[in-house]
């Protein structure tokens, strides 16, 4: 059995990346993800890697773009405002079809938000894309430190396999909550070589590679580029959708949640079951591609859906779209942040406690 350590989600992200062979990290400080660049700055030089502290997130993302073009496994991590700054570069990475991984440890709100408090308010931006040009990125949403570690390995594999950007979406609670993590190395299928990498033509087959624009790569024809990308995205949809279904076979209420909220929701489901209420949990692990069919089937079996997310309601849109109006969909959003005794949390802090979810479940199942 692999070594077990007690680490938080952020360190698990960094360790997971290194175990996936990522030796190059480009990043900029922002709360609540600082443990990732700090860990990388300490550990990468020991293994012959490179840590570069950039001058801003816009530079980080272009270092990642350059590093991906150079053929290395590269990554950066950031939090919400920094992720906004990266949107232009993300669009360019998508255009160039180079593999890379970006981690967004979400904090709450638009703008400066609450300056680093917990929240899940980037769902729409991360899954739908904040940059220009109708691209897609695979989005993984770990809900434990172990999954942070495992998903980083998966993220680098998927990025290389499909030559896409993979976004790993965690949040303040997942990032800063310490849990036991088994440092296991996951096995993946072999990947093709990166003969397209920019490193000087003598280091390859003597033939040069150059990149100007996606349209240029596809004979100057944008429709051909989009046709190719549609095929790539379809392949991803066909084989990479991941989700967890928990006690949902006989459920009469399906709770849908992701990330840290899914931890609370899982507890709430157990509490409801102890009361004899048949609640079940559906947790999308890939937020894109979204497990539309699986959500619809589980929702139709249960007959009723409750979405729990620490935001004013973003995941709920995807759930409603998947369910196609066949069953009612309720939302317990950020206003579900009451203390278990009933008083509203006034500061930026707080979470949707399982007790609050249970109360909602009682009204529905």
């Amino acid at each position: 059995m692999a070594e077990r350590v007690l680490i938080d989600g952020n360190e698990a992200i960094a360790r997971g990346a290194i175990s996936a062979g990522c030796k190059h990290f480009f990043g900029y400080p922002i709360t609540p993800q600082n443990e990732i660049p700090e860990f990388m700055s300490r550990e990468l030089p020991k293994i012959g890697g490179v840590f570069v502290q950039s001058e801003c997130e816009a530079a980080s993302v272009y270092m990642v773009y350059g590093g991906a073009l150079a053929g290395a496994r590269v990554m950066t991590s950031t939090a919400s405002p920094g992720f906004s700054l990266m949107q232009e570069g993300i669009s360019y990475i998508a255009e160039a079809e180079v593999p890379a991984v970006i981690v967004n440890v979400m904090r709450m709100g638009p703008g400066i938000g609450t300056g680093g408090q917990h929240g899940q308010t980037d769902y729409r931006q991360v899954t739908k894309g904040g940059g220009h040009g109708a691209y897609r990125c695979i989005v993984l949403a770990p809900y434990s430190a172990q999954e942070c570690f495992d998903h980083m390995q998966l993220a680098f594999y998927l990025a290389d396999k499909y030559r896409v950007l993979v976004l790993v979406l965690t949040d303040f609670i997942i990032g800063r909550m310490a849990e036991p993590v088994e440092l296991r190395t996951l096995e993946f299928d072999p990947l093709p070589g990166k003969d397209w990498a920019l490193k000087g033509k003598a280091l390859k087959d003597g033939k040069r590679k150059f990149f100007v624009s996606a349209a240029f790569n596809y004979g100057g024809a944008p429709p051909r580029y989009y046709q190719h990308m549609a095929e790539v995205y379809q392949k991803i949809k066909d084989s990479e959708i991941r989700y967890e279904a928990y006690r949902e076979e006989d459920a009469t209420l399906l709770v849908v949640s992701y990330g840290s909220s899914a931890r609370m929701a899982k507890r709430a489901v157990d509490m409801a079951r102890a009361e004899g209420r048949r609640a079940g949990l559906f947790r999308p692990v890939t937020l894109w591609p979204f497990p539309e069919e699986a959500v619809q089937q589980a929702a139709c079996r249960a007959g009723k859906v409750l979405v729990v997310e620490d935001s004013p309601g973003e995941l709920v849109e995807d759930v409603k779209f998947a369910v196609q109006g066949k069953v009612p969909v309720h939302l317990l959003g950020i206003w579900g942040r009451y203390t278990p005794k009933g008083g509203i949390m006034t500061g930026g802090s707080g979470i949707i406690y399982p007790e609050n979810i249970l109360e909602e479940v009682r009204g529905l199942a």
Partner: protein, 263 residues
Amino acid sequence: MKGEVVTREKVYGSPKLRVPLPFRFFCPGCHYGVIVRLICEVLEELGIEGRAVGLAGVGCSFGPIPVAIDIDFTACPHGRAPAMATAIKRIHPEAVVFTVQGDGDLGAIGLGCFMNALLRGEKLTTIFLNNACYGTTGGQMAPTTILGMRTTTTPEGRDPRTTGYPLHAAELVATMKGVAYSARCTVHTPGNFRRAKKAVKTAFQKQMDGIGYGFVEFLSACPTNWRLSPPDCLKFISEKMITEYPPAEFKNIDVSELPVEWR
């Protein structure tokens, strides 16, 4: 040069690295074509074409330059070439990595990115093409537009009270600690072409020797947007551009000038 046989091929022929293209990318009288040739010659003479990686900024360098030089090359988003080059160089230290950037790219949208690459003391080379305007988008004012010069966004001429003053990149770059070489050149006469070639060679050599950042600024004609004929452009460079932007070597340090512990 004594004893050297001057052949027609040597004078008029294209460098081996220059990719023959079925159509013209640059406007008649534009200096970019000359500078592309110069870059090809330098890469060949240094024998580094096999490990060279080029990055072109947005503007008239975006498409044509990556296509025209037979080495690994990528076009970059506006102003971001130094960040991308940083990563490529850090990942492949044996590669010779350089950027080709225009004045809008390097001096406006990408000034922060460029300055920070210098501050980090990256071992890169930058060829900066200063034509005093935004060429591709139709001749708008650039950070390097000369005072009084008419552009499509300074129709009455550049006025420092509303648009500030021209950017003197080569002088500014020379003040930065991580920089090993900074020079300004022109290619508007054969003599200047030869001097420029030597400067570019030195700027690459500084990177290859691991001393620091190499930077060469070119004053480059833009007949289309200057609304001048190619011969009048040469006159404009020698009379106006050179007065504002004197060609010179502003910095040239070798390894013995670096602190011993950081060599």
